[in-house]
């Protein structure tokens, strides 16, 4: 379960635009890392870099001392919610999660149902995904990320479209995931939300990542 991620001097250009600028960060299990910054600062790209969805132009991403993109294509145990959640429109939430779980086959249907209940969705809801409200879609996206109890959890703006009750629920779930020992990275423009959860806070601006003291931020 324990996982260590090291990003070493990673730089990323996309079509000549500098997206990540010499980023070096070290992350480990059992902690929540917050990425704060304005829109377009590079938070989502940093999550994509950690997830293996994009590759650094220079520098390295090491997962337990193995290089991402060379020794492995993706971190072995990972749940992601990057940007908007996306599922198959014609299926129910439960069916969508079943299909995803079927790829790795590490959990059973009852665990999927439990996850849905935990996230505040009705497993017996017969509505198709396209009929879901934005908040329900977001909850389903988080359910997909956490259902397999991954060692690494990457959440991009997890509170999008959620009401206050939903935000409180998600905070609670994220803290439980931390207790379980997951390494959690959350990107959000909402500083208050991040400060309430994160053990370490990073400020991302124009592709540069700076560590901030959570207590200093609070004061």
């Amino acid at each position: 379960m324990a996982m260590k991620i090291e990003i070493k001097d990673a730089t990323k250009y996309i079509r000549k635009a500098l997206i990540l600028n010499h980023v070096s960060v070290s992350l480990q299990s059992g902690k929540i890392y917050g990425l704060q910054g304005p829109n377009g600062s590079g938070k989502t790209m940093l999550l994509r870099l950690i997830s293996g969805l994009i590759k650094p132009t220079s520098g390295h991403v090491l997962i337990d001392d193995k290089e991402l993109g060379i020794d492995m294509d993706f971190p072995p145990s990972m749940g992601i919610l990057i940007e908007a959640p996306a599922f198959i429109d014609a299926y129910t939430g439960l069916r969508n999660l079943e299909l995803l779980a079927d790829i790795k086959q590490v959990i059973q249907k009852d665990q999927i149902i439990q996850t849905l209940q935990k996230i505040g969705l009705d497993p017996n809801d017969r509505r198709k995904y396209y009929k879901y409200s934005l908040g329900m879609k977001q909850r389903l996206g988080i359910a997909a990320a956490i259902m397999e109890q991954p060692a690494l959890l990457l959440l991009d703006e997890p509170t999008n479209a959620l009401d206050e009750v939903g935000v409180a629920l998600i905070c609670n779930i994220i803290l439980k995931e931390k207790e379980r020992g997951a390494l959690i990275v959350i990107a959000s423009h909402d500083g208050l939300f991040l400060r309430s959860l994160a053990d370490e806070l990073y400020y991302v601006t124009e592709g540069k990542v700076e560590k901030r003291n959570v207590c200093e931020e609070e004061s």
Binding site: I14, L53, F74, A86, F87, L100, I103, A144
Partner: protein
């Protein structure tokens, strides 16, 4: 091979609404075909109808350009298939596929699964074509056989070497070779989508097919998808062995090029 990935691609990729529109594309060639059967005063067989789709056009020689008549039906069928298979790979990456790929743990397996889907999708295209042809054949009172041709095909192809016993030969030239060629062209288009925007990859492959109409060389893959140019039906025309080799090279090359390209590809929204 990860069969779960294949299941996902077949489930999401083959159940798209665009397949429902395809029969409209096939109705026109079938209608023309039925007019021919009526004019000849005999019902064609199912194979007759099928062999009419990828008839193509006889080789065009540059010294007789004044007689050029482009095979509009053939170009429409080729373009139709390319459009059907155009954007699924990128569409899936923008949607549920992103969750699938991180769980699959392998970019190569994910891409190979897309290649399998691509060939399956081409197969669905041909199956729909066969179903529409069967309906027309039945309506016109023809025989539902895939082994026998009638005087209709002999008249349509107007090639001395074709006899009523040559159903298999004609099926190879007019169905199997177009299927093989279009599967290769569609794979090439999908592999190119990894490097360039889908609309450019479509036009690139479609231009090759158009060029094939004008230049009768076996290496230009479109020639193999025009039954009338097949060396099997007309020994003086295209060398079938060369055509199979050229298509195999395109097919394997596209899979290898795509798999290598996809290993390096950044998975972001393709419009970003």
């Amino acid at each position: 091979m990860n069969y779960k990935l294949l299941q996902h691609d077949f489930r999401t990729g083959l159940l798209r609404k665009r397949y429902l529109w395809l029969p409209l594309l096939f109705i026109i060639p079938c209608y023309i075909s039925s007019r021919i059967t009526t004019a000849l005063g005999m019902p064609g067989t199912w194979l007759d109808y099928l062999c009419f789709f990828f008839f193509g056009c006889e080789p065009i020689y540059l010294n007789s350009l004044d007689k050029v008549i482009l095979p509009v039906q053939w170009l429409s069928l080729v373009g139709g298939l390319l459009l059907v298979n155009l954007d699924y790979l990128l569409y899936d990456l923008d949607n549920a596929g992103q969750q699938i790929i991180v769980r699959s743990a392998s970019r190569t397996q994910w891409f190979i699964s897309k290649c399998m889907w691509n060939i399956a999708s081409t197969m669905v295209y041909f199956i729909e074509m066969a179903v529409v042809a069967w309906f027309f054949c039945v309506i016109k009172g023809g025989e539902s056989t895939l082994t026998q041709i009638s005087e209709v095909s002999v008249g349509t192809y107007n090639v001395a070497e074709i006899t009523l016993q040559d159903g298999g030969k004609l099926a190879f030239a007019a169905i199997l070779m177009p299927f093989f060629t279009l599967a290769a062209a569609s794979l090439l288009q999908m592999a190119l989508c990894i490097f360039i925007p889908p609309v450019f990859s479509f036009f690139f492959v479609f231009m090759i097919m158009e060029l094939s109409v004008l230049l009768p060389f076996p290496v230009l893959m479109g020639n193999a998808a025009m039954a009338i140019r097949s060396g099997i039906l007309h020994p003086g025309f295209m060398n079938v062995g060369m055509e199979i080799l050229a298509n195999t090279v395109v097919m394997v090359g596209s899979i290898v090029m795509g798999a290598i390209g996809f290993r390096r590809k950044d998975i972001i929204k393709w419009r970003e």
